[in-house]
Symmetry: C2
Subunit: 466 residues, 2 copies
């Protein structure tokens, strides 16, 4: 029996104990956004520090302006300068539980249920987001040290207590502890598998830049009888600009918008095409029948690997009951642009502003009041060594090819790790789409927890290999 | 000295007394919208009934569900079946006076002021809208009967007390008294001159039809990260439709929209071109520099004689502070269409609905929730006998050609007289653009009052001529 097999055996033998540990953590109502639960957040942090210390980590709950940040280090005795140093990130805080009346079990009394197909699930707040996920790390480390006496890598845990309430302390903490926290790579366990049987690594996260515009035409609201026909209407000007943002093929028309956007690598395109992703099901669930995006790109490509120009809100003139014969002075809209590849947020913003100005008819003046900031997309190459090692380890565990997924949204921590600590993040998680995170009856499948621990055992082994 | 000259002399000799009468009426705070002034409305009605009775009319303040309606009839002894019967319409109620602190004189203490150029003005609520104007009728009738013993026409006064608060009783009253109130023509004295020296008759009032639309795309609000790029955004669909409403020449693109719209008669076009209307001043006052309407039509044509398709309000998605990464389920807009000539409100509404539906991309469903009603434009031909007689009488008084104006808005009474009583309205008034009606420091020039009385003396004479 080789080392990995020994550690996997250890994990299996200890699984019941791992479940107990997880339940202990789940019972602590560490709701970070509600000051009433401040002591519970401290309690959850202390609990994790005690566990990590017991395993062999040098762990501390470090104070911040908000809830404590757990930092725990482990250096194998046999470590050399070449031993990889890996950071594991998770968060011990959870979302509030309201509306409480929709819960079928008590949110902080974790409950095991088995459905008619024999699938076991743990119900409770934080089961999937993120206590269950972060404990897959912890229990894998416990199994490694119990079975082999040591981890084969240098490991640092960074476990946050404010992820669900804005992460106010995170960036200052990373800046203040750069040297201590800069590792070779970060693993973030807060994402999903493709499905119950298919492991996944999220290698693409779209970036985003936002903008808000105001179009002013007349200097005051006008009577549409007195001025209608002669006066420019800012809603008309703004509508014209929004209508011009996309061509008839759904492509964004802003000049230079696609600069830095690459076509998908063939292998990825092929893998995604093979995913049996149901466009009909995905869109049908929200009342849509057809794909409204760029022609010649699949739905999955559009949401994972193509940029967008979206109007998130628009308003102007009279919105009350009945009618008002007004030509409004101003019209407003909020935009977000999802970014991929090497699209530069500042350049996109600038290009949009130039485009929007050009679209304005006479007597329509557009101004911009957005934050002007934004974050580029995060993409890790399929050839990255950590992606390759993790991908192979997951495949070994699941006996199925690992899907290299995209995510339409952004995960801010990934951006912070890159810009502040200079390291890439590998996003491996064991959640499922039906975990109901942030909702009543949040759950985590027992198989997610079990396969998660086993997967980390294998990934840690792969990382430690010469 | 002919009869008209005698009556004009009488009007001049009695002008001081006419001013006193006007001031008496102005002192009654007949604010119709405020129940606290209910007794004052009754008082104003009673005052007018007493005056009209004293002149020789059979006058009564008739009860309604709201404030009383004054009806007063005068039939000359020498009247035959061929003697024209003319209805004069005005209103004795006034707008509220707030903000009171902006008034330089007490609103119900009419005050005469003379400026450095010797121009005399009467300040007070109701001076121009509409007590000053309606008293030009009354005092002309008084002068006629005093000087010649009779009016040369059959006359009916209809003086309303709810014009400033929605005219709730008017249509039921007209319907209930059709035979009594149906005359050969109505004169409405609630409009303006072109300028201090140039008389005007408003012969064109635009009609209007309104509609409200809702565009629904996804069945619920979506996360723009998860669905952005694949899901249709209803704000985009609605913007596209609004942008398509006008072509690059400012012409409305709805098929059949211009059906029933005629080009201006050459004489009218020539007269309007000669008005020295300053587009720069008109648009400049509201912060605009250029005309946004149909090319090849002057600003004055656009607002008086051309139809419009206007969006009066639009909303959808997130409108609060900051940003929200949402693709909204719905987008909304309110529209009004100003109508001219023979445009049919129902046909326009239908044409718009068909157009709007055609503009919708896949997965954008538009629904219509407007009232579906509307009113056509009111236009009297320049060749109408009453227009011609009034126009000539005004020219004789002012020694200047009468301008046949348009008005971009609508005056509901004109529509009611046409549809319920089957008579056209001739809109003659002596207000000026700077009268500040509905505002603090409302005023009426003494010359408006004096020329107004003299003009009615001449118009009544012209109407009485065989």
């Amino acid at each position: 029996m080789n080392t990995v097999e020994q550690v996997l055996n250890q994990a299996e033998q200890g699984f019941k104990a791992s479940m107990s540990k997880l339940f202990e953590l789940l019972r602590i109502p560490s709701i970070s956004t509600d000051p009433a639960y401040k002591a519970d957040c401290q309690k959850a942090a202390d609990w994790l520090v005690a566990e990590l210390t017991a395993i062999g980590f040098a762990a501390k709950a470090r104070p911040t302006g908000g809830h404590p940040m757990i930092v725990a280090h482990y250096t194998p005795k046999a470590a050399t300068a070449k031993t990889p140093h890996v950071l594991f990130y998770g968060h011990y805080d959870v979302q509030p539980v309201d509306p409480l009346e929709l819960w079928e079990t008590k949110p902080f009394e974790p409950t095991l249920k088995t459905d008619k197909n024999g699938i076991e699930r743990i119900y409770g707040r934080g089961t999937a987001d993120d206590k269950g996920q972060l404990m897959t790390f912890v229990e894998a480390a416990r199994a490694w040290i119990a079975a082999s006496g040591s981890l084969p890598i240098k490991a640092t845990f960074l476990i946050e207590g404010e992820e669900e309430s804005g992460s106010a302390s995170l960036i200052p903490f990373l800046n203040a502890n750069k040297a201590e926290l800069s590792c070779d790579v970060a693993f973030v366990c807060d994402t999903n598998m493709w499905d119950e049987k298919t492991p996944a690594i999220t290698t693409r996260l779209r970036g985003m830049v936002k903008e808000e515009v105001t179009v002013t035409s007349p200097s005051l609201d006008l009577h549409s009888g007195l001025f209608g026909g002669a006066a420019m209407n800012p809603l008309r000007a703004l509508s014209k600009m929004i209508a011009a943002l996309h061509d008839k093929n759904g492509r964004v028309t802003i000049p230079e918008f696609y600069k830095g956007v690459s076509e998908l690598p063939k292998a990825t395109k092929k893998q995604w095409a093979g995913l049996k992703f149901s466009e009909k099901k995905f869109l049908g669930a929200v009342g849509l029948k057809s794909n409204a995006g760029e022609k010649n790109h699949s739905t999955i490509e559009q949401i994972w690997a193509r940029p967008t120009a979206e109007v998130n809100g628009m308003w102007g003139g009279y919105q009350g009951a009945g009618s008002k014969t007004v030509i409004p002075s101003q019209a407003h809209a909020k935009f977000t642009f999802r970014l991929v590849g090497k699209q530069n947020p500042k350049a996109i913003l600038k290009a949009f502003q130039v485009f929007a100005k050009k679209q304005m008819p006479k007597d329509a003046v557009i101004s911009f009041s957005g934050e002007g900031s934004g974050s580029p997309a995060s993409e890790i190459s399929e050839n990255n060594i950590y992606i390759q090692k993790s991908s192979a380890a997951l495949k070994a565990e699941f006996k199925k090819e690992t899907v290299l997924m995209g995510s339409g949204g952004s995960i801010p921590i990934v951006q912070s790790f890159k810009t502040i600590l200079g390291m890439d993040s590998v996003l491996v998680g064991f959640g499922l789409n039906d975990d109901a995170i942030h909702s009543p009856n949040e759950k985590y499948n027992v198989s997610s927890f079990q396969k998660g621990i086993r997967s980390w055992v294998r990934i840690i082994a792969a990382l430690g290999e010469k």
